[in-house]
């Protein structure tokens, strides 16, 4: 094939030109004249460094590389002509005694990319505002119910306080000891109840500085409990019976407590409204948790025996601003927002087909999966830096959260697991560099877990994690299971880190 003629180079939309040995422009196409905003007579035979406001070294370096290797590509380079800013890439090729130079204009792409990032940030911010507004809206709709919830214990407290007053009027207080104690107990209980409701409200409305993106290891049971605390009054006022079914064993996910509560509260509110508006007999709200080990998911199901979701609107309920509620009630953002929150958790929210009533299913990945998913981000961020992956097995979420926190500022990468069986599954799929395990766990205990681990998994360093009562077990297993050490609860960040650093020394 012959080299393109200058006639053909004339057709290019991007600047193309040839350079002599002295880096003077010989041929150039009209696109170059357009770019430089110069007439042809000011381009021909000019030194390229005079035309582009670029360092002379840029062209010299490119020329050298082209002459050595026959061709060369420049890095992305920024320059301005007049008031315009440009980003270009140049590609050079030796053609006989000349150097052919073609270019690619990336200016628009680059400036659009910058603008796109800006818009995305803005969008993120407004999303957070929408989330917050939806919470305020939800709580607003719950106010009547909540004040009712507060009024009950308040009535109990003031009643008991009155009794206390009577009791205090008697001469021999000792005789009244029993009733005094009882009243005090009742008042205490009532105030605690009020306190929890208010704490729940505050927690729900709280917005942390990171815009609530912060995820922790949480028990889904506590999400359900807190949501019910805030909606109990509303449920009571509509005479709705709630049936909660949470099977034994932990249901831990990596998530944001408030955001997940937001989903549950929204779903409970929708169920309540639909059952109340339809005047259902024996209205019942069912909430249950299920583990789906084969899908590596936990599902949270909320269903009611109301009129359900009609086929006409089924496809629309997750759309923005869709609402079946009358004006002024509901923003129509609830379900679409809930779905977005579920997706932020690598999960899903869907409507399940059901005879009579509505059934929503929130699926979230079990923590072993989400640990890896969230760490994937870290991997891609760090690229070349190979952090050591530490698998921590403990059924206590506070310990998992603590370890995660401790490792956040180190180069170690935290992977959490809530039990021996799950941890073994993790080890089947992924490589880890060290294991730290609790001893007393439901299901298989720590010692048994490590036995299995040693049978099917290589000589990875393993540490026990326990209070002093686990010492004996540690001494017993140390040789047999080739343990690298023990971390004694309670422990400090420095202890955890130095233990791990010691293990990877040399």
């Amino acid at each position: 094939m012959t080299i393109l003629s200058t006639d053909e180079l004339d057709l290019l939309f991007s600047p193309a030109f040839t350079l002599s040995e002295e880096l003077k422009v010989q041929y150039f196409n009209p696109a170059l004249s357009t770019l430089l905003q110069l007439p042809p007579r000011k381009i021909k035979e000019q030194k390229v460094k005079e035309l582009f406001p670029l360092d002379e070294r840029f062209w010299n370096d490119l020329k050298e590389r082209t002459q050595e290797q026959g061709s060369a590509i420049s890095e992305e380079i920024d320059f301005s002509i007049g008031s315009e800013n440009y980003t270009f890439v140049f590609r050079l090729k030796k053609v006989d005694s000349l150097i052919l130079c073609v270019s690619n204009d990336l200016s628009v792409e680059k400036s659009l990319h910058g603008k796109y990032r800006e818009q995305l940030e803005l969008l993120k911010k407004s999303h957070q505002q929408v989330v917050q507004a939806d919470k305020v809206r939800a709580l607003g709709e719950l106010t009547a119910g909540i004040s009712h919830e507060i009024n009950n214990p308040l009535t109990v407290a003031s009643g008991n306080n009155e009794l206390l007053g009577f009791a205090l009027e008697t001469e021999d207080l000792n005789e009244q000891r029993e009733i005094l104690t009882q009243c005090h107990g009742n008042i205490d209980e009532a105030l605690t109840r009020i306190q929890t409701i208010i704490a729940g409200m505050k927690g729900f409305l709280h917005q942390d500085s990171q815009g609530e993106d912060k995820k922790e290891y949480i028990e889904l049971k506590s999400v359900i409990d807190n949501s019910l605390k805030l909606t109990q009054g509303t449920l009571d006022s509509a005479s709705i019976k709630s049936v909660v079914n949470i099977p034994e064993g932990g249901h831990v996910v990596l998530g944001n407590q408030t955001r997940l509560e937001q989903i549950v509260i929204n779903l409970i509110q929708n169920a309540t409204d639909s059952m109340r508006d339809a005047g259902v007999l024996n209205p019942t709200l069912k909430i249950d948790l299920k583990r789906n080990p084969e899908k590596h998911q936990i599902s949270l199901n909320i269903s009611d025996n109301g009129p359900g979701v009609s086929t006409e609107v089924k496809d629309q309920i997750f759309e923005n601003f869709f609402t079946t509620k009358e004006m002024g009630k509901g923003t129509g953002l609830g379900l679409s927002l809930c779905q977005k929150i579920a997706e932020d958790h690598q999960g899903s929210l869907r409507l399940i087909d059901k005879e009579g009533g509505a059934h929503f299913e929130l699926c979230l990945p079990i923590i072993e999966v989400s640990s890896f998913a969230s760490n994937d981000e870290i991997f891609s961020k760090l690229n070349d830096i190979h952090g050591k992956k530490i698998l921590v097995v403990d059924n206590d979420v506070t310990i998992l959260n603590l370890c995660q926190k401790f490792m956040e500022s180190t180069s170690f990468i935290f992977i959490g697991s809530t039990g021996g069986e799950e941890a073994l599954e993790v080890l089947n799929k992924y490589d880890v560099d060290a294991v730290i395990t609790d001893l007393n766990m439901p299901g298989i205990d720590g010692s048994t877990f490590v036995k299995h681990l040693r049978q099917s998994y290589g000589p990875v360093p393993v540490f026990y994690l326990s209070d002093t009562s686990g010492m004996d077990q540690y001494k017993k297993d140390k040789e047999a299971l080739n343990l690298s050490g023990m971390l004694v609860k309670p422990f400090k960040s420095s202890e955890l880190v130095s233990l791990l650093e010691e293990a990877f020394k040399g």
């Binding site: 009209p30 007439p39 042809p40 007579r41 008031s83 200016s107 628009v108 400036s111 659009l112």
Partner: protein
């Protein structure tokens, strides 16, 4: 102040739209979106630059107008002529160019200037050769670009 502005004058059956500044992704054409006058005159005199996003938006806009109105381009600067020559659709079918700028150079005093021409000044894509320099008044300043390229938007003969 925005990088792009539009001035709009409405006469009987005619709208004069003066464009000013940078035509890029931030250009907003809302103000002229609803125009349906018989003749739409676009004055590009104060347009300083245009990028591929601006071209795209402009083509979408002008092609929607060209079906119902007669389109006239007035005082197209060099940056617009360069696009006219390169991008199909920038000048919709049936549209008319009333006037445009062309670069000239005076060899006597080295003055560079943009001269406003109309298409009937150009015969066979050749620039007029008898224009006087605005500074030294020497006659016959030279066209300061490639004629075949610059006048590509005009008929060959």
């Amino acid at each position: 102040m925005s990088k792009f502005q539009i001035d709009l004058t409405l006469n009987a059956g005619q709208a004069i739209v003066s464009l000013e500044g940078v035509m890029d992704e931030d250009m907003v054409l809302e103000k002229v979106q609803g125009l349906n006058e018989e003749t739409l005159i676009f004055d590009f005199d104060k347009v300083t630059s245009i990028n591929s996003c601006g071209i795209r938006d402009w083509i979408t806009f002008i092609s929607s107008k060209a079906t119902d109105s007669k389109i006239v381009y007035r005082k197209c600067p060099k940056v617009i002529i360069e696009q006219l020559n390169m991008v199909k659709g920038f000048l919709p079918e049936g549209a008319q160019i009333e006037s445009f700028y062309a670069p000239f150079f005076c060899e006597s005093c080295e003055n560079e200037e943009m001269v406003l021409l109309s298409p009937n000044h150009i015969k066979g894509r050749k620039a007029p050769t008898n224009l006087p320099c605005s500074q030294c008044k020497t006659e016959g300043i030279e066209f300061d670009a490639l004629e075949s390229q610059y006048f590509h938007f005009l008929p060959e003969a």
